[in-house]
């Protein structure tokens, strides 16, 4: 079976005819849930990044009496919080903070996870065993508590929060990348690359890595969702930047008043929920588009 023709067809997968390339897009569009997720995410991005451009008022200013319920005449549409601030305005501004912290964290997670997974999967043997033990160690750690300790020790700056989320969340990505590398490295096109004398670095970066992109892209949408939840949890516990109120932080601030003021806790929490849900729906749709066999799992 290992004929020359097989090698060429596999090596040429990146230059498929355009019709086939759009097939994934079409399958994604056919998945109603995934399209819904994409629309939802679009709306959230508009609320977080476009709308604030048109609003010049101070988001932290007093606008109406404390604990004004939503849809009260004369009050802001989503009511006010325990300091009489406009909930809608703060939640709108909170989006970018949440998304940026989670976004950087997700990038870090993917980078660390993919690197470790690639090394373990490609080199195998002792390298693999050591790296997998390290991965197991980090996977077993109670992530949120660990991040809590790191942030408590090193201070609650955006950088420490990103790093704290990053160091506890990469193991699943590493495992996925590793298994993908192990699968790919046995395939003909990698053997062919080796046969023409490509260096290990070239094979890892230029030959195998591009073939793991589909899986990494799916994983990054899911990772992004997980990172948002993680940031929200940390911020809820008070580990966030008090000047840039992320959604989770804002829920934490309003928590002690939630018996009189249910809206100031539920609305930012709902935004976290919607954002993570939209990302998961997209990730699920992409997964189906890449690997239709797993559909419905």
């Amino acid at each position: 079976m290992t004929t020359l023709r097989d090698t060429t067809t596999l090596a040429d997968t990146r230059e498929r005819p355009p019709i086939e390339r759009y097939q994934g897009l079409r399958m994604f569009m056919a998945n109603k849930a995934a399209v819904l997720g994409a629309i939802l995410l679009g709306v959230i991005l508009i609320i977080s990044y476009i709308l604030p451009l048109f609003i010049t008022t101070d988001k932290l200013a007093y606008v109406a009496s404390r604990h004004t319920p939503p849809l009260t005449e004369g009050g802001p549409i989503l009511g006010t919080d325990y300091l009489g601030r406009d909930v809608a305005l703060i939640v709108m501004h909170g989006g970018s903070t949440t998304l940026e912290v989670a976004g950087f964290a997700a990038l870090l997670i993917i980078f660390v996870g993919a690197t470790i997974g690639a090394f373990a999967g490609y080199y195998g043997g002792m390298v693999d065993r050591v790296l997998m033990k390290v991965t197991e160690f980090f996977q077993v750690l109670p992530g949120l508590l660990f991040a809590l300790v790191v942030v408590a020790l090193f201070g609650a700056s955006t950088a420490t929060i990103v790093i704290a989320i990053g160091i506890v969340s990469w193991p699943p990505i590493a495992r996925q990348t590793r298994s993908e590398f192990m699968k790919q490295k046995g395939l003909e096109y990698v053997k062919a690359a080796k046969a023409i004398g490509a260096s290990n670095a070239r094979i890892i970066l230029r030959t195998i890595l591009p073939n793991t992109f589909p899986i990494l892209i799916v994983q990054s949408t899911l990772t992004m969702g997980a990172a948002i939840l993680f940031e929200a949890g940390l911020a809820f516990l008070g580990l966030g930047d008090p000047n840039n109120l992320s959604w989770g932080y804002y829920v934490g601030l309003n928590r002690q008043y939630f018996l009189t003021n249910w809206w100031a806790v539920s609305i930012p929490g709902f935004m976290v929920f919607l954002t993570v849900l939209s990302l998961s729906l997209i990730g699920d749709g992409l997964q189906d588009a890449i690997n239709p066999k797993l559909r419905g799992r």
Partner: protein, 327 residues
């Protein structure tokens, strides 16, 4: 047997690694315990006093000297002193362990049993709404921030419907002479909402896993054999199906235990549940590093032991692993 011994050895090494890691974090962290102290209660301490404290805490020793001192202390059950609680850390932590384990165990039981029940029902009718909706339910369950779910549950069931207690582990008005049974019922009532908030994250995941695994199991030949023997369908499903179907779930259980205990921190904070998580939240607020580190150690050890336990259970359930067979 050898495999289990190896696993136990690995677990001990992991625990050691956690301790070393803890220590290194504190070692490289800016601001020592002394700084935290001098900012707080010891604000007017003299240089000489601070030097005395440094010596008592061994902060004048080398890296390895301090590491071995730390490990030695921890092995003797000494996690240091909490200036905030004004007590040894061990005394603060000990009474918090049981509530956290109770909550974690309860949430896990809830998620696993209901999840398996839903997943099995869905696997029997792959075309039903339940089955096709399961993926979306799982995504929704995953997307809900735990603290938010908790607050919503309190608002709905605690405040508006006023069905269930929402804070603490026992009713404060409960007389101290209340019997064990009365106390247990009260605790159980207090446990419901925290259990649901924490369990719901995993519920859909387990349901999905159970569906996938039971669908495979129900198509297998040995299920047909069990039916051909004349067994009742419930026996076919539970004795022959489930025992095989839960094997993949058990493997995931151990891995998710860390996430479970992480979630417990948030749930305990929301429900004022007197466990380790609530203590961790207080320790963060008070910058009580010793307590925080001790909790991290305790929880990590718990997670590692839970992993060991699931590994042993997995071997008991699946004879193919236990007896080292091929298939």
């Amino acid at each position: 047997m050898l495999a289990i011994a190896t696993k136990i050895g690995e677990s001990l090494l992991l625990i050691l690694a956690v301790l070393v890691f803890n220590f290194v974090l504190v070692y490289i962290a800016p601001g020592s315990v002394i700084d935290a102290l001098s900012a707080g209660s010891l604000g007017d301490a003299s240089e000489a006093q601070i030097e005395a404290v440094r010596e008592r805490l061994g902060l004048d020793k080398s890296f390895f000297g301090q590491l071995f001192m730390y490990l030695g202390n921890v092995l003797q059950g000494d996690f240091g002193y909490s200036p905030i609680g004004n007590r040894p850390v061990v005394e603060m932590i000990a009474p918090r362990i049981f509530p956290t384990l109770l909550l974690a165990f309860s949430a896990l039981t809830f998620a696993v049993t209901i999840g398996i029940a839903i997943g099995t029902a869905a696997a029997r009718r792959p075309d039903s709404f339940l089955s096709s909706g399961l993926t979306v339910f799982a995504l929704i369950g995953f997307a809900m921030p735990v603290f938010w779910t908790g607050i919503l549950l309190i608002l709905v069931f605690g405040v508006w419907l006023d069905w269930l207690p929402v804070a603490g582990m026992n009713d404060l008005r409960m007389s101290s002479r209340a019997g064990f049974f009365e106390r247990a019922v009260d605790t159980a009532e207090h446990l419901i909402l925290p259990t649901v908030s924490l369990g719901v994250i995993f519920l859909a995941t387990y349901a999905r896993l159970a569906r996938a695994s039971m669908m495979e199991v129900l198509q297998s030949d040995y299920i047909r054999t069990a039916r051909a023997k004349g067994l009742h369908e419930s026996k076919v499903l539970f004795k022959h199906g489930l025992r095989n179907g839960i094997i993949p779930i058990i493997t995931v259980l151990g891995l998710e235990f860390g996430i479970l205990l992480s979630g417990a921190i948030l749930v305990e904070t929301v429900f004022a549940w007197p466990g380790l998580g609530r203590l961790a939240f207080e320790a963060v607020l008070n910058r009580d590093t010793n307590v925080l580190l001790a909790i991290l150690t305790m929880v990590s050890v718990t997670v590692i032991l839970a992993n060991l336990l699931t590994d042993i259970v997995y071997r008991l359930v699946d004879p193919r692993i236990r007896t080292g067979g091929r298939a």
